[in-house]
């Protein structure tokens, strides 16, 4: 297993820049998720790590070794693809053994490794079938088996779950997580699904337009998103971002924002003294996660309920503030549309953003 360092990596096709100075470093055994919408450059980055695409600038290091000019086969990596990329004319066994065969590993060792991987992934009975005779989930297992037997320094996963149905996706997610824990492998995993990112990753890199917007642990990314883009992309329902004002910065920081039923004043928002001084009496963007609203009849936020969506474990209440819909996630409660009420807010969880640059204020 190995560390992975991506230093100032750039990639362009002609005049089109797909990656602009990407910097990411992870330790041995970490699970890095590259998260972003399609076209953000995450798959290109993965292909560059794999050696399937040339690098325009910068360095990729696997285990402290620069691999820029090494072909994929010499990088000691394994990869699981979105379409699984199983060789259609070979049986499952032949698929798994193909890479070992090329590397000149003896038939005996190949059989042993295949058997072990098959047992681990519970697909011993499938070894003599062709890929076309397998279900989606089974193909997925074979693809993972093909990666495991190689004992690579680095596993690469390219949206491996996006072709599965919802139920299977959750099962396989658990399976991948278990695999990571058992193998202690270093993994790079590309997805556009933020739940996968949150559940699997030890480090997340949220990407957009070829730039890493935020790199950190899933909890950091969730709690203290680097900018409004990350704030909106991670979490469901997304973080509410409201136009507000910094009204007091001596003592506890207080922000104010308009709702349909008047002004809400929330104090005790975390903010550094420098930022507080800089934004005093100026407009800020106020980021509040839905679950950070509380039932509190004496709370700071006056509102009229526009819509109620019970989900089972909790209830989503929609109201409007500053012309935008705001979603609050509350314990199941009986409340009807049109009700006027007051909610509280956990001030210490609020994140403020610069309205011009949309980056987080520390």
């Amino acid at each position: 297993m190995a560390t992975l360092d991506i230093n100032r990596v750039r990639k362009s096709y002609g005049s089109m820049e797909v990656l602009k100075e990407v910097n990411i470093s992870i330790e041995d055994g970490e699970f890095l998720v590259l998260l972003g919408p399609s076209g953000c450059g995450k798959s290109t980055l993965l292909n560059i790590i794999a050696g399937l695409e040339d690098i325009t600038g910068g360095d990729v290091l696997i285990g402290n070794r620069v691999v820029n000019d090494l072909p994929p086969k010499d990088r000691d990596i394994a990869m699981v693809f979105q379409s699984y990329a199983l060789y259609p004319t070979m049986t499952v066994r032949q698929n798994i053994e193909f890479g070992m065969k090329i590397r000149g590993i003896s038939a005996e060792e190949r059989a042993k490794a295949t058997k072990a991987a098959a047992e681990m992934l519970q697909m011993t009975g499938l070894l003599d079938r062709k890929p076309s005779q397998l279900s989606g989930g089974q193909r997925q297992r074979v693809a993972m088996g093909r990666a495991i037997v190689r004992h690579p320094e680095l596993f690469l996963f390219d949206e491996p779950l996006s072709n599965l149905d919802a139920k299977l996706r959750v099962d396989m997610r658990t399976e991948i997580k278990r695999l990571h824990q058992r193998l202690g492998a270093t993994i790079v995993y590309v997805t556009h699904d933020q739940i996968e990112a949150m559940t699997l990753a030890t480090k997340v890199a949220v990407m957009k337009d070829g730039i890493v917007q935020h790199f950190g642990t899933p909890q950091e990314v969730y709690d203290r998103p680097a900018n409004t883009y990350v704030a909106r992309f991670v979490g469901s329902p997304a973080m509410n971002i409201l136009r507000g004002r910094l009204v007091a910065s001596d003592g506890p920081v207080t922000v104010a924002f308009e709702t349909s039923d008047g002004e809400a004043l929330v104090s005790g928002v975390p903010l550094s003294p420098e930022s507080a001084a800089r934004f005093r009496d100026r407009e800020v963007l106020v980021g509040i996660r839905p679950e950070h609203f509380t039932m509190d009849t004496a709370g700071a936020v006056p509102l009229t309920v526009d819509m109620v969506e019970p989900t089972g474990p909790d209830t989503l209440v929609v109201f409007s503030a500053g012309g935008a819909d705001v979603v609050a996630r509350l314990d199941p409660l009986a409340i009807s549309v049109g009700t006027k009420a007051r909610f509280g807010v956990k001030a210490e969880k609020i994140v403020l953003f610069d309205p011009e640059t949309e980056t987080r204020l520390d």
């Binding site: 994929p72 086969k73 693809f81 979105q82 990329a85 193909f98 090329i102 093909r146 190689r150």
Partner: protein, 290 residues
């Protein structure tokens, strides 16, 4: 009542459709029928006025004459040596053009480089080249190479122009195979040729059949190159057939003509009957996306 008349209408429509289809089938089958029956009749019966009917007396005399006795020019060897010429020409030409086409299609889809599309476009135009525009220089070059009027010369010509078609077939087939497959193989450590032979070729079996069948019929049925670049005993079978048929001296031996035509047609007809599906795919390949 309403449903009954609807059912009747439908039945009438069905009868009409089947009637038209059957008539058309007759139109397409008649020439084949006439060729076969005529080839089995003695000459007297033909001149006696039997055109479409079954032969009164079945004789294979015309077939044996066509095969080994009919005169082509001054040589009365029948079609046999020319049939062999055609086989000697077809087999290598088909194998070479299919093999090269497979490699080209593989490179053009899985190892794309700057200008690959231009290369493909240039090859594609070659499929539609009226060969009259290249026949003169080709005759000169074959002469310079000492291949004028030889089977190897024809193999070269057919391979060259066949590449355009076979590359198109394989390119359009390989483009449907996900690129991830070659990426996975690269990561498994397979190189250019390993991927080609272990993964692409086994997956390409249907298009290999299409390409072989297409090339086989094209090369076997070619007349222009044969008549332009060969003469006498080096000719392929189509040229020999045309010479038999166009003999103008003496009483015309229509039964021998028809037997000769059948002999020239049998190999491609056999291929068509046994592998028609692949044959049609080759035919429509030029139409369904370039």
């Amino acid at each position: 009542m309403a449903t009954k008349s609807l059912a009747r209408q439908r039945a009438m429509g069905q009868t009409f459709i089947y009637g038209v289809l059957a008539l058309l089938a007759l139109y397409y089958l008649t020439p084949l029928w006439v060729m076969i029956t005529t080839s089995l009749k003695p000459l007297d019966e033909i001149y006696g006025g039997s055109f479409i009917g079954l032969p009164q007396t079945v004789t294979f005399e015309a077939w044996s004459k066509a095969w080994s006795g009919a005169c082509i020019g001054t040589e009365c060897t029948g079609l046999k040596p020319y049939f062999i010429n055609s086989i000697l020409m077809v087999v290598p030409a088909v194998l070479l053009s299919t093999g090269l086409g497979a490699l080209n299609g593989y490179v053009l889809t899985k190892w794309r480089f700057r200008g690959a599309n231009l290369v493909f476009g240039m090859m594609l135009f070659g499929c539609f080249l009226p060969y009259q525009a290249v026949i003169l220089p080709m005759a000169q070059v074959l002469g310079k190479l000492g291949l004028s009027g030889t089977i190897p010369g024809l193999i070269l010509v057919h391979t060259l122009y066949g590449i355009c078609f076979t590359s198109l077939f394989f390119r359009n087939y390989f483009i449907t195979i996900p690129d991830e497959l070659t990426k996975a193989a690269q990561i498994d450590g397979a190189g250019f040729f390993r991927i080609f032979f272990s993964i692409m070729l086994p997956a390409a079996l249907p298009i290999i059949v299409v390409s072989c069948i297409w090339q086989f019929t094209q090369v076997w049925n070619d007349f222009l190159f044969g008549v332009s670049f060969t003469s006498g005993s080096d000719s392929p079978i189509t040229v020999a057939l045309n010479n038999i048929v166009n003999v103008t001296t003496g009483r015309k031996q229509y039964n021998v003509d028809m037997a000769s035509a059948m002999i020239a047609a049998i190999p491609t007809l056999l291929v068509y009957v046994t592998a028609g599906r692949y044959f049609v795919r080759g035919l429509t390949a030029g139409a369904v996306k370039g």
